[in-house]
């Protein structure tokens, strides 16, 4: 059975006989044929320009940069949505936000004071019997794990990762709880793991008026003994070790660099006095921080180190040729909470940040590394999105692609068989929040509607030529009525109605 699906994988990827011959030539006699492992690393609110490989100058990411040097860098890859939960839903279910079940961060506040009551963990859950990358790869014989932030259903809900295709879960089930890097507990499957030395505190506070903002001791109350990303990295390394002899899928959804700004001192050392920092006192949400720029950079560099450790372990275990490693982010850089996106030039010349459907909110870095399969140092401008991962991983696991996905199989691009690459007719986003937005990417064109939930706003289609206007500054709708007409049609038909995320303004407002 295993041999069968390996063969099917070969056929699907077009490796065929040449691939088999190569494998023989490499002397794989000690290795049995197997489906490739997949490690999908998802950063949280990491902008398009926040990795060295993408042009970042101040934040050091040597391990991820090396991943790019050894693999393929995508320059036109899109997140599913400009905020966390819906973006993750498109990833896991292979459907854009015109078809996905979760289309916004939904805290389900009807339950009570969700921000203060620790019993009300979790966002709106995925329903039972959802088909996810996890359920599909489980059927393909993979051991599956989600380690990090989930956000698609709290404890005991239908959306719990163990019910959504993941054999193993460790981390934050709830996104609100993930606002604190020193939580008093995490979840390992159904088990609440209490973290000794971490006292509970509310992750949105203002700096006390009677304390000195320059006194490091005054910030100790926003720390703890156990830094959640460290625990997650260890869990991930352990999962890889334990499953080295069988195909595995590790969805490593780190919470870095999402707010709050918190990092252990040993990582701050690297950026000590580097950025002329002034204290952030919490007046724009989350937690005060004495050195916000250094902390933000240190959080990313610490995460980078953990990526390096995972890659080192894969190499040490001799699994490099058998493991696809992807690194990406769920949406653009945040605009608040002490993050200095201007200082770091976090999204470069792109318009918008997290929450925005302009490029800065949704265009994300993506790096794919797979030794002997993906050409080192290659760059691809293939237009692609989160919902392409499900069909791509189906092909890797040797199982049929579900018909209801909006995604395309990216393996031909990975394997440098560009001519075989199927193209999207268009990419579609809708997001009822941040004013109510809708967008379509079609070839070089991007159509955008904003302010759909705002009164008296202009909701007509703005049209941008991304090839010549990456910053979406010049609305050329008037000059290209024929493109606008196509976009209008797509914006009205490229979606299904959603039970919980209704968006009638799409039809009702002027287009």
């Amino acid at each position: 059975m295993k041999g069968m699906s390996r063969r099917r994988f070969m056929e699907n990827t077009g490796l065929g006989m040449a691939g088999l011959y190569l494998m023989g030539a490499q002397g794989c006699s000690t290795k049995t044929a197997r489906e490739p492992n997949i490690i999908y690393i998802l950063a949280d609110d990491l902008g398009y320009n926040e990795l060295g490989a993408y042009g970042q100058k101040l934040i050091k990411t040597p391990n991820i940069d090396k991943l790019a040097a050894e693999g393929m860098k995508f320059t036109q890859h899109y997140a599913g949505c400009p905020v966390c939960a819906p973006s993750r839903c498109t990833l896991l279910t292979g459907k854009d936000t015109g078809h996905s079940y979760i289309r916004d961060n939904d805290e389900m506040s009807e339950r009570g004071d969700v921000w203060h009551d620790p019993a009300l963990e979790g966002q709106r859950p995925l329903p039972a019997n959802t088909q996810t990358i996890g359920t599909i790869l489980q059927k393909a014989g993979y051991k599956t794990a989600c380690i990090g932030k989930w956000g698609l259903g709290g404890p005991n809900s239908t959306g719990h990762p163990n019910k959504q295709g993941f054999d193993h879960f460790f981390g934050f089930l709830c996104q609100r709880q993930a606002h604190n890097y020193y939580p008093d507990h995490l979840w390992r499957n159904d088990e609440k793991v209490v973290l000794d030395g971490n006292k509970p505190f509310f992750p949105h506070q203002k700096f006390p008026k009677d304390k000195d903002p320059n006194d490091p001791a005054a910030y100790e109350q926003y720390g703890g003994k156990q830094y959640a990303p460290d625990l997650m990295a260890e869990e991930a390394l352990q999962f890889i070790q334990e499953n080295k002899d069988r195909p595995f899928f590790l969805y490593f959804a780190t919470t870095v660099p999402h707010l709050a700004l918190q990092v252990p001192d040993d990582s701050l050392e690297q950026y000590k006095d580097a950025f002329n920092d002034t204290p952030y006192l919490g007046d724009r949400g989350y937690l005060p921080n004495r050195t916000p720029r250094a902390t933000y950079a240190a959080m990313i560099s610490r995460m980078d180190r953990d990526v390096g450790r995972m890659v080192a372990l894969i190499k040490q275990l001799g699994l490099e040729e058998d493991t696809l490693i992807i690194f990406t982010s769920d949406n653009g850089t945040t605009y608040t909470g002490g993050v200095d996106y201007k200082f770091f030039n976090s999204v470069d010349s792109l318009r918008g940040l997290k929450g925005s459907i302009y490029e800065g909110g949704i265009r994300v870095p993506m790096i794919a590394r797979w030794k002997d399969h993906i050409k080192p140092g290659s760059i691809s401008d293939q237009i692609s999105a989160f919902w392409d991962m499900l069909p791509t991983f189906c092909n890797m696991g040797g199982v049929p692609v579900p018909k209801d996905t909006n995604g395309i199989n990216l393996l031909p691009t990975f394997l440098d068989q560009g001519k075989k690459q199927q193209q999207h007719e268009y990419l579609y986003w809708e997001f009822r929040d941040y004013g109510g937005q809708q967008a379509v990417r079609m070839g070089k064109w991007k159509g955008v509607r904003t302010g759909l939930k705002k009164k008296n706003s202009d909701t007509g289609i703005q049209l941008y030529d991304l090839e010549n206007d990456l910053s979406e500054k010049n609305n050329v709708a008037e000059e290209h009525q024929e493109i606008v007409a196509k976009m209008k049609k797509i914006m009205k038909t490229a979606r299904t109605k959603s039970k919980y995320f209704s968006f009638p303004e799409i039809y009702e407002r002027e287009i």
Binding site: K60, N63, D230, E234, S267, Q270, R309
Partner: protein, 217 residues
């Protein structure tokens, strides 16, 4: 008075003799082993005499110059040794990093071939001691390190593994362990060293390996 003095002398002489029955073990290595050595020594103090080579064992070239001196005339029952982190380090006198580390403009201390040759010579010398030998794999290098490339550890450990197979010497895989603990107990994201807790964890594995070796003796 004289009587007591003689008694005292007898005590002085007899002490090393009686503890001479304890197995003697030598740890050879750089700052990493210097970091975990005290934990090993203290944990085994009732069972063995544990000594670290004087100073830092640095790179294999330095090792070849000093090894006779470190071994001395002593009997050794177990020798747990490592070279690697210094060999694969690039240094540049102009660099302001500690130890003049500089992997961009610096020169490599020992090429893989030099490392192989030197380590081979060192093993041959160590074998003459009749001690049970354990090679400690070189520990993890994060890629942000100023003078070292992460993947070089794999390369140099690979060379060492070949040599150890050739000589039938066991390897203590501190590398895999170090990957696991570097996140929580590494000194920093760009640093190969560990906090005291990290060294204690490395020591734990070393102690286990030494205890096994002593059992086999």
């Amino acid at each position: 008075m004289g009587k007591y003095f003689i008694l005292f002398l007898t005590f002085l002489i007899s002490t090393p003799q009686s503890s001479g029955k304890k197995p003697r073990m030598l740890i050879i290595g750089d700052s990493i082993s210097i970091g975990y050595f005290p934990f090993v020594r203290d944990a085994l103090k009732d069972m063995a005499i544990v000594v670290h080579n004087k100073g830092n064992a640095q790179d294999t070239q330095h090792g070849l110059r000093k090894i006779k001196q470190w071994l001395g005339e002593n009997r050794w029952d177990v020798i747990h040794f490592n070279w690697g982190l210094w060999d694969l380090c690039y240094r540049n006198p102009q660099s302001e990093e500690q130890g003049h580390r500089d992997k961009i403009h610096g020169t490599l201390t020992a090429t893989p071939e030099q490392y192989r040759r030197n380590l081979d010579s060192l093993v041959q010398i160590l074998k003459q001691t009749k001690a049970k030998l354990i090679f400690a794999a070189t520990t993890y290098v994060p890629d942000g390190e100023a003078g070292r490339f992460s993947d070089d550890v794999l390369k140099y450990n690979g060379i060492a593994a070949q040599l150890m197979r050739k000589y039938g010497i066991q390897t203590d895989d501190l590398y895999t362990l170090s990957i696991a603990i570097h996140g929580k107990y590494g000194k920093a994201a760009n640093n190969v060293h560990y906090s005291a807790k990290g060294y204690a964890l490395l020591a734990k594995q070393v102690i286990n390996r030494i205890e096994d070796a002593l059992d086999e003796k």
